[in-house]
């Protein structure tokens, strides 16, 4: 294999800044999409644990719909199809008026896609709580929203911290799909540097290291959080 290695390219004038801004954009997309995923996913997940049949059916439909269509196809639907289906004025706003349309499309698309996964975690977290806790809370006189707010959700969230972490890392990695819509996030910048310099492996290595760094950091933070939020009498990886 003959390849002319030149690690200096990473630190040369525009390229270093490109990588940094790409990394920043990757982080920004991930955090915003994760916010949407947590909120929507929690609502959908709670819906699936309610007694109400319509609410449960809606929750199930949401999860199956968003989980069984590839993310890239979903992004294309949001980006190319939704503006056509909406009333003309709205569609025109999405394609012409909205600044950074590809960025926002990715954030919303990725957020709603991940929400389906979060919903499944929330549902299983709540489902794992013994029935007696809900009944006890109701017997004490809590209203249903209060049962969720004070009993089920605080316990449920803490048991699913590890799986939520892996979902967050999923968002972080999936944010790379933004490049298909032309957003210059981390993976896209490495491709761009390759186009300009014909050096492919140095920028790829830099991106790989950055992705791995965030992943390992997130895993470490997860261990600490899990240990702190441990429920007495249960096992957790980080617990002492």
């Amino acid at each position: 294999m003959n390849y002319h290695w030149d690690w200096g390219v990473l630190f040369r004038s525009p390229y270093f800044v490109w990588i940094l801004s790409g990394f920043g954009l990757t982080c920004l997309i991930s955090v915003l999409a994760w916010g949407i995923a947590l909120v929507v996913g929690s609502v959908v997940g709670v819906c699936r644990t309610l007694e109400n049949r319509a609410a449960r059916a809606m929750g199930t439909m949401y999860v199956e719909l968003f989980r069984n269509i590839p993310l890239l196809v979903q992004l294309f639907l949001w980006f190319y199809v939704v503006p056509e289906v909406l009333p003309i004025a709205w569609g025109r706003y999405l394609t012409r008026g909205l600044p950074y349309a590809p960025f926002w499309t990715t954030v919303v698309g990725l957020g709603l896609y991940t929400a389906a996964r979060v919903a499944e975690q929330v549902r299983s977290g709540i489902g794992a709580i013994p029935r007696g806790q809900r009944e006890a809370a109701l017997a004490v006189g809590f209203s249903l929203p209060q049962v969720y707010r004070y009993v089920l959700l605080p316990v449920g969230y803490r048991t699913i911290i590890p799986s939520l972490t892996s979902d967050f890392l999923g968002v972080f990695k999936n944010s790379s799909l933004a490049l298909t819509l032309g957003v210059l996030e981390l993976t896209a910048t490495t491709r761009q540097i390759e186009d300009y310099t014909f050096q492919a492996f140095e920028p790829f290595t830099a991106a790989t290291v950055l992705y791995a760094l965030v992943t390992f950091t997130a895993m470490g933070v997860m261990r600490v959080l899990e240990g702190r939020g441990r429920i007495a009498g249960t096992l957790a990886i980080g617990g002492r």
């Binding site: 390849y3 989980r67 990695k173 799909l177 390759e194 790829f204």
Partner: protein, 219 residues
Amino acid sequence: MFGNFDTQVLIKNHALLLNGMLISLELTAIAAVFGMVIGCVLAFMRLSRLLVVAWIATAYVNLLRSVPLILVIFWFYMLVPKVVGHPTGAFTSVMIAFVLFEAAYYCEIVRAGIAGIRRGQAQAGLALGFRPTQVMRYVILPQAIRTMVPVLLSQVIVMFQDTSLVYIVGVRDFLTAAEVVADTNNRPLELYTTVAVVFLAICLTASLLVARLRPRTAR
């Protein structure tokens, strides 16, 4: 709006779309088979008592699982022709990328399946005079496989969806074929809706079938 949904463009280009779907399925099948074989090898390496072997497998799995599939596809797209020494088609490099990427995920599923068997089972087997390989063959694996298979198959469904990512290096899979047709006919609505519906139908059916495989006691 959906009122002027043009089915003609789908009918006219059905051969191209069908061919794309076949490529997606082919890629899924190859990556599933070879990925599982390598995944099993990696899982046993991780369980090995030789620390170096276990460490190499762990490092490989953790690295692959911490980077996006798109980046892995790019890596192999550039790397494979350099290693082989002559240009290979995009499909070959994508195939290798999928096999090696998925192997890391299958490894973790296999390992979790084996680790999920209670320690007493292995100890009982050893106490009865089984050799360690026999314990694995007759006690642990038969139980572990039952919990592993549904998870492995779910991962295959996820991977089938992920094959759409080969779009970025221009392999003519289902989505890429649809994109070409959408572009030349200026019909994104019809094409992308069709792609979504087809994926939904296939993946939903497959995941319902997999759900029936899950052991009843697990729920």
